[in-house]
Amino acid sequence: MFMTNKKYFVIELLVNNHAGVMSHINGLFARRAFNLEGILCGKIGDGSTSKMYLLVDNDDFLVQIVKQLNKLYDILEVTVHQEFDISVFNNFEELLKIKVD
């Protein structure tokens, strides 16, 4: 279900992987009153960096969100996507339903 989404964007972040990075990003969204609809996060490579995928509303704030994210010290790369599979963000509860036989 890879498709162009009109209602949402996904912001892909490459970040330094240490405690506190998540706080900086969450804090930015909270204090600037930006909506954050979903987060996926995990370490990559040797674990010194992580990838984060933020699901955000397609609204007037997007440009300002990206500019503010670019200013954060531990964010190494910011990429905005309109082509993605939104179902990944909609089925979180499946995580705990997986049965191992």
Binding site: S23, G27, R31, V63, Q64, K67, N70, K71, Y73
Partner: protein, 559 residues
């Protein structure tokens, strides 16, 4: 050689050229203070950590350099928060180094433990926790780089006590990291396009702010304005970046801006917004701000572009570099028509000053004080009516002569900032204009001032109220005064003498002018308490949310 983390911190601060550090010791930063014992760095023992961080701000704001303060964990750290937030909003480069409980106790609700890192995320440019003594070799130089680079701002470094005590074996002192030189490459086509807009414009205005101050670009602004005859308005943070004596100077804009300033802005066809952020106190209703003008926004912080006002064109970069690019391309122009319209508006809507015989009108006091001190004197203010009157009438001629809490508007800023400015500029006179409300918010720093015996003159414009609150209640809340009049009024002169600082209470003097003259001429710190009319208002005033052309009061017709 063997060194502990605390010694490494002090050595790195010495290497950065730090001469003065303000702060208060406590349980978790005692190793740092122990290392300071052997250092050439001068320590200023403030009486409250907020005062300490504002002293650092005073040093930084008056010099443009990074300044440092220390605090212990828990309450020491939380006491810093207001001054850090203040530095963030006004883009002031300070570094706060806080003690923290030992790493193994973090998260256990240990004595004087608080999540300093978490608390300071939204109010610092960047913050760090040092997890090992070796990390300090990276963190401290990095903090200095970050505080100063691009748009400056505060940085906090939280250092657990065991990291301060950790012994590191060093064969040699690590070489400092090579300085990263950021190239100010600005696309020449953007500069060219901007210069064409300026040359083509009929009614251009320069709207300048703190970015010009931080970018050390006031001389370039002057040259651009003079060459092309562009009138200049400044924000509160921009005061001093363009001399008030210049005929092109149009004063401060905004909520308490001059009547003609706000009206002329409305006529502009090109607004050159340099180092400003379209703050609501400056623009009023931002949608109705400069409706006729094409706007070109130049700022070092890309996030400021189109944040509040969508502009026609923008350049992200160093203001000085942009101006140096523009200067040769901008044509000489006498702009007779525009300048004569500006002069006409100035004449029709002048700034209304009180009669000279009204000696105790705050405006007359501020103007009189300005005639008693050298032109390079530094003025600090607190926040409220006295701050706005100072901004309106004190003759600021050069950058870094006004230190004021612009963005956060922090009462209690003035006295400690004056101490910091005097430390950094021992040869200069420092004047702190304050109010009877503001001075009490960091009055304990009178003790620090007495310790240091600095050349600071504190002038309290005493109206026995939270004046600007009372004014808003009068104008916008039907005169329903609540919680704006103080029930009792302390004897500030007696308090000052109690701290060991000479003081004058002008309500008890017969020759006010002579007393004020003598007080200012006296060496060392002096406090002067001046009674002013309780119901005096700052005019003109734009109602919050209204366009800046809709001003209340301060009109020739009101007289």
């Amino acid at each position: 050689m063997k060194m502990n983390g605390a010694e490494i911190i002090i050595k790195l601060l010495e290497d950065e050229g730090i001469k003065n550090i303000s702060g208060i010791p406590g349980g978790t930063n005692l190793p740092i203070y122990d290392a300071l014992f052997k250092s050439s760095i001068n320590h200023i023992l403030c009486r409250h950590e907020q005062g300490g961080a504002f002293i650092a701000q005073g040093m930084s704001r008056s010099s443009g350099k990074v300044a440092v303060c220390f605090a212990t964990s828990g309450p020491g750290a939380t006491n810093l928060l207001t001054a850090i937030a203040d530095a963030k909003l006004d883009s002031i480069p300070i570094i706060c180094i806080t003690g923290q409980v030992s790493y193994q106790y973090i998260g256990t609700d240990a004595f004087q433990e608080v999540d300093t890192y978490g608390l300071t995320i939204p109010i610092t440019k960047q913050n760090f926790i040092a997890r090992s003594a070796k990390e300090l070799f990276f963190i401290i130089p990095e903090a200095f780089r970050l505080a100063n680079e691009g748009r400056p701002g505060p940085v906090l470094i939280d250092v657990p006590k065991d990291v301060q005590q950790e012994i590191v074996e060093l064969n040699e002192w690590p070489q400092s990291l090579p300085e990263i030189v950021i190239e100010n490459k600005i696309d020449s086509s953007m500069i060219k396009w901007t210069s064409q807009q300026i040359n083509k414009a009929k009614r251009p205005i320069l709207y300048i702010g703190g970015g010009v101050l931080n970018g050390n670009a006031s001389e370039e602004i002057r040259r651009l304005a003079k060459k092309n005859n562009i009138p200049v308005v400044t924000t509160l943070m921009g005061l001093g970046c363009f001399s008030c004596d210049d005929p092109l100077y149009l004063s401060m804009l905004g909520m308490h801006g001059t009547r003609y300033t706000n009206l002329i802005l409305h006529e502009a066809d090109l607004l050159l917004a340099f180092g400003v952020r379209f703050d609501d106190r400056a623009t009023g209703n931002v949608v109705k701000f400069c409706p006729e003008a094409k706007i070109i926004h130049v700022d070092i912080d890309e996030a400021e572009i189109n944040k509040l006002k969508n502009v026609d064109y923008s350049i992200t970069g160093d203001i000085k570099a942009v101006l140096n690019g523009l200067l040769p391309l901008v044509e000489e122009n006498n702009r007779e028509g525009w300048i004569s319209l500006v002069e006409k508006t100035k004449a029709e809507h002048p700034f209304i000053v009180p009669e000279v015989s009204d000696i105790l009108h705050p405006i007359n006091i501020i103007k009189f004080v300005s005639t008693l001190v050298a032109g390079d004197s530094i003025v600090t203010t607190d926040v409220g009516q006295h701050q706005m009157w100072t901004a309106q009438v004190y003759p600021f001629r050069s950058p870094r002569t006004l230190l004021t809490s612009g963005g956060l508007g922090t009462m209690g800023f003035g006295l400690p900032a004056a101490i910091g400015a005097a430390l950094e500029n021992p040869e200069k006179q420092v004047i702190c204009f304050t109010g009877d409300g503001s001075i009490l918010m960091n009055i304990q720093e009178l003790a620090t001032l007495a310790d240091l015996n600095l050349n600071v003159k504190i002038i309290i414009l005493n109206n026995k109220h939270l004046g600007l609150v009372r004014q808003q209640q009068e104008l916008f809340y039907g005169g329903r005064y609540i919680a704006s009049k103080f029930v009792t009024n302390p004897d500030f002169a007696a308090i000052s003498r109690g701290f060991g600082i000479p003081a004058y209470d002008l309500s008890k003097e017969i020759d006010l002018i002579e007393t004020l003259k003598n007080a200012i001429a006296q060496a060392g710190p002096v406090l002067i308490d001046i009674p002013v009319r309780e119901m005096e208002n700052v005019y003109p005033m734009v109602k919050p949310g209204a366009p800046i052309t809709e001003m209340i009061g301060g009109d020739v017709y009101d007289k």
